[in-house]
């Protein structure tokens, strides 16, 4: 059924859905990948011709995004989520077990082409992991029994839509609701308020509410919308950043599953305020299971007159929303990379200035906001600024959704007013045995026990929502290693310090982790980390060394305990370097090895 000869027909079929613009390249590739398990060479040529782009542009995009491949994966392409939270739940052992059962090696498709098993960056299921993706579909709560069942389903070539539905169950897992999650609005509520009060009043309301971007950076939403509205332009765009890639973050998944109307309402409100007629939801590829339900919500809103032409009966209020899929690239959570990706390109962050509010999608003024921000904006429009500022602290008004995972009794989504202490959160989620908490994901900071009275807000510990608990038994260096590998894997490769420094740093952490590091290596790590932090092109590069720099300062013992006594150790293993020579010569006796220290 998936015979590659028909790729031409399939592209023609897709053409009817996504059109001919070069910026649709990634959307074509994402669909072709899941149809054929790779991008066949014919497809590369056909797409280049159809979209009038060089073949190297198609190739460049395929090689940039982790989920796209130019050689065939297995008919069942399995990707284990490789977040530290999955590790802590035993994901590596389960991946190993599945490989053993199927007789397949990690990263290499099986000889018969039936299956491939590999690892991928955090899939956003940390509260119900370990998790994997099979042909892009999320499977949660893995254990040995489930792995055994999956191996059986693959050996019998059972299509994924005939697998037990409970394998694909993704629960919202909301553990604590506050302002935002208890005040959902009726569809059209915010738009009606916009009509009654006008854009200026809505902007004033947002201004007074002190709503700040929920992605972590904390830019004032009213200011962003106002800049965009004031920029000279033929077109303006509204983009919702649902590329929730920060390891340990999964709140947007929940909002898009159960509060999609509020999110789309916020986007439409923004469109009305700034004067945009087109919006995009950029959905991370890992959330493929959300695509159809979200399309259904959009369709329902179109029928209800909340999207499309003359919204809520208002002449000339035209706005619609398309969903664009990401394809496995953490960098696309950075707003200018996200825009590049929306334009069907490799997700390389743009130079600033200009900023997206003046020159974004198609070089037109563009508002890019987080899922949670749009939802909050819609609710503020209806309930008013005072309702919002009634909770929170200082210039961190309202609430924040936290995605809590790791060593705690009750992982899940917690909505708290800003200003809540780490200690309080740990008490609520059952994380009493914590030695440290990683706040704001891999790029965030590791908070030691002595700092548990610190608070979550923009002035103390700012976060996009990730909150991972590590108990007393955990080796924090495992976390550092996981994060450092993550960043080396996710670097876009554009600038020198992040591209090269990220890999150098990863190798040094591996060296220390394996017990071969010295004081000299720690000094190297500090210097490379500082260089990355200070000279990188974008936020990914400058925050990538955080896990190393932060723990070197706060938890020096996790490094010291593994150091060699000598002041210097070579970066390579002399004996291992001779392995190839031993293979060629067929000599593997003791004398063909260096003496190893005991």
């Amino acid at each position: 059924m998936n015979s590659v000869e028909h790729v031409n027909d399939f592209i023609a079929e897709l053409n009817a859905i996504v059109g001919d613009r070069p910026e649709q390249l990634l959307q074509y590739l994402y669909r072709i990948q899941y149809r054929y398990s790779f991008i066949p060479p014919q497809a590369v040529q056909l797409l280049a011709a159809r979209l009038s782009v060089p073949v190297t542009r198609v190739q460049g995009v395929i090689e940039f995004y982790s989920f796209l491949h130019d050689t065939a994966r297995g008919d069942f392409d399995i990707l284990f989520s490789d977040s530290i939270s999955d590790h802590m739940l035993g994901s590596r052992q389960l991946a190993h077990s599945l490989c053993e059962r199927l007789g397949v090696r990690l990263g290499e498709p099986r000889g018969d082409g039936r299956v491939s098993v590999d690892l991928t960056s955090c899939t956003g299921m940390c509260d119900q992991g370990p998790a994997l993706l099979v042909n892009g579909w999320t499977v949660t709560r893995l254990d040995e029994a489930r792995i055994e069942a999956i191996a059986g389903l693959i050996e019998t070539a059972t299509p994924t839509d005939e697998w037990p539905v409970e394998f694909f169950a993704v629960e919202d897992n909301i553990q604590r609701r506050d302002l935002l999650l208890t005040s959902a609005i009726s569809p059209g509520g915010a738009l009606q308020t916009l009509m009654n009060k006008g854009s200026q009043r809505i902007l004033e309301e947002l201004d007074t509410s002190w709503l700040r971007g929920r992605g972590g950076a904390g830019f004032k939403t009213a200011a962003k919308w106002r800049f965009c509205r004031q920029a000279e332009a033929q077109q303006r765009y509204v983009v919702c950043n649902a590329d929730e890639g920060e390891p340990g973050t999964f709140k947007d998944r929940v909002l898009l599953n159960s509060y999609a109307d509020d999110v789309f309402e916020g986007m439409t409100l923004c469109a009305g305020v700034i004067g945009a007629s087109q919006g995009y939801l950029y959905l991370r590829g890992e959330y493929r299971y959300l695509l159809d339900p979200l399309q259904t919500v959009l369709e329902r809103r179109r029928r209800a007159g909340l999207l499309g032409r003359n919204i809520i009966g208002q002449d000339g209020f035209d706005f619609d929303i398309d969903i664009h899929m990401g394809a496995g690239a953490y960098i696309c959570g950075e707003e200018s990379s996200l825009i590049e990706s929306l334009e069907g390109k490799r997700g390389i962050p743009r130079k600033r200035p200009p900023f997206p509010v003046t020159s974004g999608f198609r070089r037109q003024p563009t508002v890019v906001n987080n899922v949670e921000t749009f939802m909050a904006a819609a609710e503020i429009a209806v309930h008013g600024a005072d309702w919002f500022t009634a909770v929170g602290t200082g210039q961190s008004t309202g609430t924040k959704l936290l995605s809590i995972s790791g060593d705690c009794a009750r992982p899940g989504i917690y909505e708290y007013p800003f200003g809540v202490s780490i200690r309080q959160i740990l008490q609520d989620c059952g994380g009493g045995d914590a030695q440290a908490v990683q706040v704001a994901g891999a790029a965030g900071s590791t908070v030691p026990q002595r700092d548990f009275d610190r608070r979550i807000d923009f002035d103390d510990i700012s976060t996009g929502g990730s909150f991972m608990v590590f108990n007393q038994q955990r080796e924090l260096l495992d976390m550092v290693q996981n994060f450092t590998r993550f960043f080396a894997h996710e670097s876009c490769g554009f600038c020198t310090p992040c591209r090269v420094g990220g890999t150098l740093l990863k190798d040094l952490v591996d060296k220390v982790h394996s017990g071969h590091g010295t004081k000299y290596d720690l000094q190297q790590m500090r210097e490379i980390g500082a260089l990355m932090r200070d000279t990188s092109h974008c936020g990914l590069g400058s925050t990538a060394p955080n896990p190393v720099l932060d723990t070197l300062e706060k938890f020096p013992a996790i490094y010291q305990s593994r150091l060699r006594d000598s002041s210097y150790e070579p970066a390579f293993d002399l004996d291992a370097a001779l392995q190839e020579a031993r293979q060629i010569s067929g000599r593997d006796q003791d004398t063909a090895h260096f003496e190893t220290e005991s």
Binding site: P54, E63, F64, A488, F494, C495, V500, G501
Partner: protein
């Protein structure tokens, strides 16, 4: 329109025009800010980070930073020199740069900037990547071992030659230059030795055949004077061939 707007580069006052970057104005004034991926003929890129300067305690790339009246730009502090040297060292260990065996030696900007920053060794662990040499074209050879991903050939071929011969593919440390032709080799593309893209490579990655060592080592662009005095190799292309 002609009132003199200025900013300060270390101790020097630099005049600039509207729309200038710090790099544009510095180049015009003859002040040297080390750089590799920048060439004033093309849109600024900001990827090599070698032109990093300090403005109000923040590091920015001079080639992308708009000039602003009264800006105080620090270009020559010890800290910045060390950072530049480390960036150069990273570029050296990332590829396979063997200066004594490279035809471009003496007229290579990577080598010249490395000398300028006082780099004496590669310092970091070598990656020793396995990369190809593409000698399929009649007049030009490409040695991917020496490519530093500055994308000057990409920009020149796209914006001047209108051929899109070069492009960057891959991600992270696997990023690499690719050639737009059916076989992926240069000989199979419509590239020509007279293309602008054949005359902008700051290192020894894009080499003209049949002219090797026309100019002996010792008489080359950077053999007698530092890059801070004689400037970029691309400026001299065609004049005396480096």
């Amino acid at each position: 329109m002609s009132e003199n707007k200025t900013f300060t580069l270390d101790t020097e006052s630099i005049e600039f025009q509207d729309g200038d970057t710090v790099m544009d104005a510095a180049l015009r004034a003859g002040a040297y800010i080390p750089h590799l991926c920048h060439n004033p003929e093309f849109e600024p890129h900001g990827s090599c980070r070698v032109c990093v300067v300090d403005i109000n305690g923040r590091r920015v790339s001079a080639c992308t930073q708009p000039a602003v009246e009264g800006l105080e730009v620090e270009n020559n502090s010890d800290a910045i020199k060390l950072e530049r040297r480390a960036l150069l060292q990273m570029l050296f260990v990332e590829g396979n740069h063997v200066c004594p065996g490279c035809e471009k030696s003496g007229a290579c900007q990577l080598q010249a900037v490395a000398y300028y920053t006082g780099m004496l060794d590669p310092h970091f662990t070598h990656f020793f990547p396995r990369r190809e040499v593409d000698a399929s074209h009649a007049d030009i050879a490409i040695d991917f071992n020496r490519c530093i991903l500055c994308e000057l050939c990409v920009r020149a071929s796209r914006d001047v030659d209108r051929k899109n011969v070069f492009s960057v593919s891959g991600r992270g440390i696997d990023s690499h230059l690719v050639i737009n032709s059916p076989s992926g080799t240069l000989g199979d593309s419509d590239f020509s030795a007279t293309d602008k893209a054949a005359h902008v490579c700051p290192v020894g990655a894009i080499l003209h055949k049949h002219t090797g060592y026309d100019k002996p080592i010792g008489q080359r662009l950077y053999d007698r004077q530092p890059i801070s005095v004689v400037g970029d190799v691309a400026e001299h292309e065609g004049k005396d061939h480096g």
